[in-house]
């Protein structure tokens, strides 16, 4: 893609990892003119200075309301419009809101040029959410592991059990009470804290 046909894209996102994932995707697809803004102070003046044709912002960002002001400022040479202005493409609007991303384009930019960029943003945002979920699950599993190990230690000490016996006791209690072993382990820690 020649530089001439590559529109200038600004990514407004406080998450550096997600912005990097998005930026990489855009570059791979041949969009070379991409700038990431992570600092929300003076956001509008930075955007005016960069004069982008497309602005991508995550929906968790309160500064989205700041961008809405662009439609008001008569001083701006190029008037940006919300991509949602075109009501013909309800499915892609839905997909982008659900993925947690919104885009603004400068007036006059053709819709056909915007569509692949938005699709790419949506898929990268979804990929990031999946990654985040996996990370959260892993973290949670690691923490649970630690809690179980500490509860096991307490049972071994208090009841004179072997490691294997302590684990079996927790597991059978969990099954009997229809709870997770992590919850049983947590109750043991809480109880032992109270009885100290």
């Amino acid at each position: 893609m020649s530089a001439e046909s590559s529109p200038k894209i600004v990514i407004v996102d406080e998450s550096p990892i997600r912005a990097a994932i998005l930026e990489e995707g855009l570059r791979e697809a041949g969009y070379t003119d991409v700038v990431h803004i992570s600092e929300m102070q003076s956001l509008l003046s930075r955007i005016y200075a960069l004069d982008p044709e497309i602005i991508v912002i995550d929906l968790e960002n309160p500064s989205r309301d700041v961008l809405e002001q662009m439609f008001q400022v008569s001083r701006a040479v190029r008037r940006p419009i919300a991509m949602f202005v075109d009501q013909s493409d309800a499915a892609s609007i839905q997909a982008s809101v659900e993925a947690g991303v919104s885009a603004y384009i400068v007036d006059g930019l053709k819709k056909e040029r915007m569509k692949p960029i938005l699709d790419l943003c949506v898929s990268r945002f979804n990929a990031f959410s999946k990654l985040q979920d996996e990370l959260d699950r892993t973290k949670h599993a690691l923490e649970e592991r630690k809690v179980i190990d500490r509860a096991k230690g307490i049972l071994m000490k208090v009841k004179g059990l072997t490691e294997e016996e302590a684990y079996v006791l927790m597991r059978s209690t969990a099954m009997r009470e229809k709870k997770k072993i992590g919850e049983i382990a947590q109750s043991i820690l809480t109880a032992s804290e109270l009885l100290k």
């Binding site: 989205r64 700041v66 961008l67 809405e68 008569s74």
Partner: protein, 385 residues
């Protein structure tokens, strides 16, 4: 059978009726299973309501009108069957601007005309000395805060587009921006004014009720098409909110209401700060000066919850005055039709014909039947007849 509903809100005290209707079980008693979704921007609330991810929303009254007219965004007709609150905003200024205003003021410091004229003198002095223009923060282009600030300063001779800068700031960033000098003042809802005062970085200059006696602030908004298909649900929602508003307005319930709103997944701020707003008893200066007003925030009392098309007309007139849209009689009609006293009355089961006149401190009384004539009475504005 219960009806599941997703309702979006922004963590502000004027979401009280919505939060109490849900958390105190008034909605459940009406057969509604409400899932409240906290949002971070008005743009998100508007878009999610527009595309149907939300069934209803806590919405800035002017956004409901702008959405219905297709101003600045997609055109999606909205119906507002219930006012979540009247008033509730305040103008807070930095200690430096407060000192400058008090030096210039000629008259009562709670008189908006006196402060507005003082502001005009401060602005003129700054210009003479080559200082940067003052910057005012507000929450959204189509917001009561924007119009309230503009109305106030223009009355004293300050042109909000030429003499100062008005910038959009998300409410959670307001206090920091005032503290670090990014803005000199802001107009926002509770709890942010009180938080600025508590931190010693701001003085509450005005309650908006000083400027406008009764100004609709947030509405409970639904898509108009949805309201037609789900008339019984809309009526149930209004009834649940009426009961919540009545509950909130009982002074003995205020501590409980403040505790409900203070929950981390609701507003997530201290209950005492919330209660000050509900009681209309606010600390206005870091030195501890208190000020009380029976009109600070009205949630249901004095028929505050009943939508008044005259209020919608006033908001539309502000959009015209400040150049957000040209005047068109059919657009005025469409704006007024967003506010639905008929839906409110049908649900409440008692017809009322009370209305809340805007009661502005400057200019002639507002007449919805003559918006151009009304606007012609104001010298400053972007609208040309």
């Amino acid at each position: 059978m219960t009806t599941p509903l997703h309702i979006g809100f922004i963590p502000l005290v004027d979401a009280a009726a919505l939060i109490v209707a849900t958390d105190k079980g008034f909605a459940a008693a009406e057969g509604l299973d409400v899932m409240l979704v906290r949002e971070v921007s008005w743009s998100n609330v508007r878009d999610k309501l527009n595309i149907g991810l939300f069934d209803a929303a806590h919405l800035l009254a002017p956004v409901a009108i702008a959405s219905s007219l297709g101003l600045g965004h997609v055109k999606v007709p909205i119906a507002a069957p219930f006012n979540l609150g009247l008033n509730g905003n305040a103008i807070t200024v930095s200690p430096a601007l407060h000192a400058a205003l008090m030096e210039e003021i000629d008259g009562d410091r709670f008189d908006p005309m006196a402060t507005s004229r003082a502001l005009a003198r401060v602005v003129a002095k700054r210009r003479k000395s080559g200082a940067e223009p003052l910057t005012f923060g507000m929450t959204f282009p189509f917001s009561t805060h924007n119009y309230q600030l503009r109305f106030w300063m223009a009355a004293g001779g300050v042109d909000p587009d030429e003499d100062v800068q008005l910038v959009v700031l998300p409410p959670p960033y307001m206090v920091d921006s005032l503290a670090n000098g990014h803005v000199d003042a802001f107009c926002v809802g509770a709890p942010w004014n009180s938080i600025a005062v508590d931190l010693g970085v701001g003085h509450i200059l005005h309650f908006v009720s000083d400027i406008l006696l009764s100004a609709v602030e947030k509405v409970l908004a639904v898509r108009q098409s949805w309201s037609e298909k789900h008339a019984a649900v809309v009526a149930a929602l209004v009834r649940a909110h009426l009961r919540a508003a009545e509950f909130i307005e009982q002074p003995e319930n205020r501590p409980e209401v403040a505790r409900i709103l203070a929950q981390p997944e609701r507003l997530g701020v201290e209950a005492s700060v919330i209660q000050r707003t509900l009681d209309g008893r606010l600390k206005i200066s870091p030195d501890g000066t208190m000020r009380e007003s029976g009109r600070y925030l009205l949630v249901g009392r004095e028929a505050a919850a009943r939508p008044d098309p005259g209020q919608a007309a006033w908001l539309y007139a502000q959009m015209v005055r400040w150049g957000q849209t040209p005047y068109r009689p059919e657009a005025l009609k469409a704006a007024m039709a967003v506010f639905r006293p008929d839906l409110y009355d049908a649900a409440a089961g008692r017809p009322t014909d009370t209305s809340n006149a805007i009661g502005a401190f400057a200019g002639p009384p507002f007449d919805p039947n003559d918006v151009p004539g009304h606007l012609a009475a104001f010298k400053i504005g972007r609208w040309k007849p």
